[in-house]
Symmetry: D4
Subunit: 159 residues, 8 copies
């Protein structure tokens, strides 16, 4: 990956079982040739590991993935001023992870995206990076164009 | 308080605005003459303070009080093997704090009590202490008897 | 089981169909070599049996498992001052058992854990016992260490 | 009350604070000149009192009123084969008392009516009694007619 | 069925797809040898048929079964002063049928039972009939005893 | 009102207490000089009156307003093939009236609008009438333009 | 299709994955021989396409189908004064699409039908068209009669 | 404001009634001396104005504030590749605006923050800008320190 060398995004999964949603994140990042590091660390079972990953990271943006009482995004946000994106994972209740991630107290924001929506987490991270990265901005415009073209084509196929 | 000298319970509020529920906790503890320490520390804004309070504490049981995305009980539980009781605080949604506290991942339990139910948090802590403290057990039996008598009296007043 | 002889924990299932969650409880208790007794008794269909089990039990902690309108934890708590842990069972609604167990009236606390979270119920019971049992406290520290090591290993495997 | 002498309905409040909804019950029963007894007894704080009231009662129908984790209707139903009506009381969540009362396990039914809907609890009890009581059936027909007339009048007033 | 000749219960399904829950109702009624009639009629698609069934019925109690916006129980109750039991049917939301059935306006009560809980609807109807039918009361006592014995046996099997 | 003579819209309130939301409906209809008739009739307490109003009405569209288990819109729709708009009324739960109105079974549609949103019910009725009424279509365009202008003005005031 | 020539209804799917619900819409429209056009266009990914479809359409009624944060119905309604029907699509939460479609702000109404209820969307559109189309009105009466007959037959089959 | 000259953030309110939450946003931006523009524009009532504001804006980040069926954040995101933050506004349901904002379809992300949480929206925007703005990063570190100090002081005051 010649265009973008350093690790721009640090991904943290709260549990290995969150891998399928992480795969949606990394699929988009590969498309955009954005370097990332990926980790498993539980806010509740390994708080020190979470802290170490955050402090060691030189990434610009964090993507955190967690289900149930999803404390991970908030705990990561507590240890950095860099933007933290939170992806709630579906389960038997769904409102648990959504509300745990979105209802942060004033002072420590988390950017919540939709349930299991790993691709949107990646695209939001890229949109953030694209503010000061023209190459990524161009790629993002192209990505949108392709998505648009695909729907227009699907629409044409219907008639 | 001669019978019970050391601090048996450490109370942590996630925010000063949780004081009214903390008052319900301490009212019960005063009744039972149980020593406690009380602190304000936010899992998101002051994670180090939370950790310091937990590690410094020699209490047997923690009572944690938090609203919104109530990470505090889980974060305290992450730093100790002692039992942690979590009290969800009411707000505009209510299910946010309840689900954040009760839906802990396997491995790090929190003992959740009802919304704003500070007195039950105190009584649960006392029940836990009473396992190996006959004086507290006796007081708890008496407390129950009085509550029972009050209802029986209310019932008699109706007829 | 030489180290811990007497029955420390009494487990009550509200229905035979709750067995899979009870198995998660007993798996942890076996790991910790903690003696327990296990029963099936419905708060609604066999209230006398529930009461008999509670009054006969010499255990220090109760673990109760129930779904739907999960009255069992509260009914057990009504008959003892010992700590009662409640595990809500999943079904078609999920909020029914969670709210039935967590929303106890002031005076009779139940320690609610997460939906179907039998292992956390066991670990909470052990944490309560560990206050005055150094052997269990050491085992609990080890259990946590192993869980931590497993995540750290999983994390290492990712990179 | 000459027409109906014996106590036909036993009302039990889970807490003194449920009185306003109990007043809606008794207002209807007075209208219909139906004798009732009224009690306060908590399923969690005074289970023996609940059982005593149920076993002592010679009423044909029970009306039970409770909020939060509303175990009272189910606990009454556990001690009698007579029909038990449950009225959920509103609070900060509302779904707690509704689901606790309606989601009874197979075998022990409770007849749930709407949130705070004391008058419907009374009317349902009267409908049950009216099956074998022609006087009450006639009164119920009249009550319905009056309610109908009131709406028809309100409708006429609009045009 | 010699002991109880006339039709005591009229069952109405809102849709043919509710048959599995109706089967739970009739299984219990067969056990108790209670005569019933059974119908399919939609409150929305065939309101006249619903009304005809209600007015033609000489049963003492109605059991109505409906999903989604479950208007059937309330519409039946609007046409009779006899007790109407409503069984909410599960689907993609579940709260829709539960709330539609339980939240009746003051004046026209419905006795709501749990989601898909056909057996409790039947048992509630029998409890209502048993007020003035000693044979059914005895059978209901026996039914409860058997249910109790089954749990006690299951409990014995565990130890 | 010279331009539009006959009654185009029939409004039915499920209860007199729904008047404030009905006032939002009629305020819009007055603005558009659309003739309407307005009635109070309960689907549960006066089903015959509801049917009579529907069968007597020569209006093109029905607007129905109801709270709790809001059966009125569906019951009106059951008696006519003309479009029926349903307005859910807010209360202690809110999801009850919304789900009762929106979750109609296949075959009998109701057009649900937002909670307490009387003005949108009126505007939807006008949009339906405007399909074949150029005068109303022009008025509706103007109404939208004014709403737009008001926001543009508010926006200009901010800067 | 000789009786009704021009396109009366424009259907827009927010995503190709909504096709199964669109099929329920078109099945009813085929039954009624109502001409329609059908399109795929995302309010979020192709807002210009949505606008173009709306402005190009000469249909009298729009049927829009969308899941998740279902903005499509509201965005269509923002570009036309013609009636817009919204069909929420089921997913992991269900309340997301229902609330997104029904809770429109005052001024821009959407006619919401039930979750996945494509046939009701079609029937509501036909009811709207039938106001000024006697042929469709007759067909709709017949459709209802057939639905009624089918239930009456099912009812007869039970007895 | 010498350090940061150009407009970095564009704030859009869906309605003038959202002003109190917008005030929380601007209070934080004033603290950080970050230039912003502020607008009122409804996604449903003035879609062209929304598009014009987005296309005219040279800001790096958008903050959008909306209640009910909160389409505004998604509609803004549809017209730009720059990051869009969405603030759900509280009302009678609360889950409506939260789910409308968070449940975006794959391809067009919105960064959702908590209910009415204007200050977190501002802090998230600043965190995003701070990636490539050392001055803002320093200010954000200071802001956090002050918040931390305030809690530590509150904690000291308790003991």
């Amino acid at each position: 990956m010649s265009t973008i060398d350093s690790t721009l995004i640090t991904i943290i999964l709260g549990s290995k079982s969150d891998q399928p949603v992480a795969d949606k994140v990394t699929a988009v990042l590969h498309d955009f040739q954005v370097n990332y590091s990926i980790h498993v660390a539980s806010a509740h079972r390994t708080p020190e590991l979470v802290m170490k990953i955050v402090l060691d990271s030189t990434a610009s943006v964090f993507i955190t993935i967690a289900g149930l009482s999803a404390a991970l995004p908030g705990v990561v946000a507590a240890h950095t001023i860099r933007p933290v994106i939170g992806v709630p994972i579906s389960g038997k209740i769904n409102l648990d992870s959504i509300l745990s991630i979105i209802q942060m107290p004033p002072g420590i924001p988390v950017a919540a995206v939709g349930l299991d929506n790993g691709s949107n987490a990646a695209l939001l991270a890229i949109a953030i990076l694209a503010i000061s990265n023209k190459d990524l901005a161009k790629k993002l415009e192209n990505y949108r164009k392709k998505a648009r073209a695909k729907i227009i084509e699907a629409n044409n196929d219907m008639n």
